[in-house]
């Protein structure tokens, strides 16, 4: 595909986002619902860490950060923020295996726009903005309540790590979902990796054993969802590991794009539309 073609297709994203906003405007109750679930989810885990820190005031492990109740609450807010990005842009990734096995991808293939972009764009969820604002409020609250200090450079680096890590994670999921071309409905496979992400994202991964940390950095890069951005934003990560984490996240995105592309192309070749 020519470079201009890619740019033209990416230029469609704002239109898809506008459509998503319009759809959301039709059901305002959903906005409040998104707000309530985000806030409750934050409160839920803030309670969890508060109860934990009632037993021991700080968690220390093999990492750089000493996790007190403030840092842990910030970490939960960061998870909310990360998931709001996920809800906003990446929801369609979860649907790929569904499209392959049940809905069909042929109608997307005949249009002059990348099929994956279409599936993703159809599932853009503007309600993510609400979750995002809740995440930001929660981060602000934890800073104000616990006297945490964040730096502008820390924010930039933290967000960069988050966006790269999240992209790597979602492209990995897209690859798993594309295995539906061969093994049919495979929600379970995605659910396993999602379960790992869901359960580990709200934990300070750097206090866990090295083997777990390596798995959650190189294999399933959950560490970039909240632990690394939190450490960077709170300015608690030295320069060398900061650069190392950013490099790893960038390389992971690149590698997973290559793998996904190969799997998708092979799958499309073997795909047989069903129904009529």
């Amino acid at each position: 595909m020519a470079r201009n073609d890619y740019l033209r297709q990416l230029g469609l994203i704002p239109s898809y986002l506008r459509l998503s906003l319009l759809r959301l405007g039709e059901n305002k109750l959903q906005l409040w619902g998104a707000f309530a679930t985000s806030a409750f989810s934050f409160i839920f885990y803030a309670i969890f860490w508060n109860v934990m820190t009632l037993q021991v005031p700080i968690l220390t492990g093999v990492g750089w950060v000493v996790w007190g109740v403030g840092e842990l609450t910030f970490l939960v807010g960061m998870t909310n923020l990360a998931w709001s990005f996920g809800a906003f842009f990446w929801m369609g990734i979860w649907e790929i295996h569904w499209y392959i096995t049940e809905l069909g991808i042929e109608e997307y293939q005949i249009r002059p726009v990348n099929s994956i972009l279409q599936i993703m764009a159809q599932n853009f969820w503007a309600g993510g903005i609400i979750q995002m604002s809740v995440g930001i409020i929660m981060l602000g609250l934890s800073i104000a309540t616990f006297g945490l200090v964040i730096t502008p450079i820390g924010i930039v680096l933290g967000l960069l790590a988050l966006l790269l890590g999240q992209a790597a994670l979602y492209i990995l999921w897209a690859t798993l979902a594309s295995l539906a071309f061969w093994i049919g409905r495979n929600a379970g496979l995605i659910e396993i990796s999602d379960a790992i992400e869901w359960n580990f994202a709200r934990m300070p991964i750097d206090v866990m054993p090295h083997l777990v940390q390596h798995f959650l950095t190189f294999i399933l890069p959950v560490i970039f969802i909240s632990t690394v951005p939190t450490m960077m934003m709170l300015g608690q990560l030295p320069l060398e590991p900061t650069l190392l984490y950013l490099t790893v996240a960038g390389v992971l995105v690149f590698v997973w794009i290559l793998i996904f592309n190969a799997v998708w192309q092979a799958g499309v070749k073997r795909y047989q539309p069903v129904g009529g």
Binding site: L29, Q30, A34, S41, Q55, I183, R185, N186, A195, P209
Partner: protein, 274 residues
């Protein structure tokens, strides 16, 4: 329709539901890797908490649980969470109401709630069975305190009560689809409430006494906390009668609530198209 015929039709629903599960064996079996994912995340955090509590205060028991007991608790609680109705059933009911298939159920001589209740039950039983098998296999490798046969037998009626309460909670919230579209957030809220107030992430005894006493009044604890504690044998026999009475009272309250909401929701509901 006679009672016998009605029971037979519900059993047929359960059989069909069981067959449908078998169609997706790979998908179904991969779900069991879910247990380790959940248990490991909590295992690492709790191991740090217990280690530091021991180093700082010389404490080995938190909220009435030693570390081994807690891991045992979490394992069973996760099996319960995977087994009992939650998100997926709620989505099904919402789709039935919102997109119209409910009309075809209403035309049949079968109660929709009963249909869903018996349709979901085989799935819950299978998840419980596979979860318990995973648990028994784990006991071979990790020396966790295994439940006694007596506790296992006592657990069965409490699992049934847990199933009914979870089903009624999910059903009651899904009925909101009569009045609103896109009620995923109602399900999310219920799911979070069930996990937190049901002891799905932290045993209720970890909470400060005031919060604990509030949580113990709610129905959620009968879904996860109570059956798990009973399987572990942490209840005195004298506690069983009040627990049974309160859980049955909650069942009745929720059943009445579901019937009221269902009748309210159905009023004015009509399906269009074909």
């Amino acid at each position: 329709m006679s009672s016998l015929a009605r029971i037979n039709s519900y059993l047929a629903v359960a059989k069909i539901s069981f067959r449908n599960i078998r169609q997706y064996t790979v998908d179904f079996l991969t779900n069991f890797a879910y247990f380790p994912a959940q248990i490991y995340a909590l295992y690492f955090i709790y191991s740090i908490v217990y280690t530091q509590a021991w180093i700082i205060d010389g404490v080995t028991t938190i909220g009435g649980f030693t570390f081994t007991q807690l891991i045992n608790y979490l394992f069973i609680v996760i099996v319960m969470q995977r087994s009992l109705p939650r998100w997926r059933l709620g989505t099904e009911i919402e789709k039935d109401i919102d997109r119209g298939p409910l009309v075809s159920y209403l035309a049949r001589p079968i109660d929709y709630a009963g249909f869903k209740f018996f349709g979901e039950f085989p799935r819950s039983l299978l998840f419980l069975l596979f979860g318990l098998i995973t648990y028994v296999i784990t006991l071979i490798f990790i020396p966790l305190p295994a439940p006694t046969i007596g506790n296992l037998l006592l657990f069965i009626p409490f699992f049934l009560v847990a199933y009914m309460i979870a089903f009624l909670l999910v059903f009651a919230t899904s009925i909101a689809a009569f009045k609103m579209s896109q009620i995923w957030w109602v399900r999310d809220l219920l799911s979070l409430a069930m996990t937190l107030a049901g002891g799905g992430l932290i045993p209720l005894t970890y909470f400060p006494p005031v919060i604990q006493s509030i949580l113990l009044l709610l129905p959620f604890q009968y879904c996860y906390f109570t059956p798990t504690i009973i399987l572990q044998g942490y209840y005195a026999v004298t506690d069983l009668l009040p627990i049974t009475l309160i859980s049955v009272a909650w069942l009745i309250i929720l059943y009445v609530l579901v019937r009221l909401l269902w009748n309210l929701g159905r009023r004015g509901y009509s399906g269009a198209g074909g």
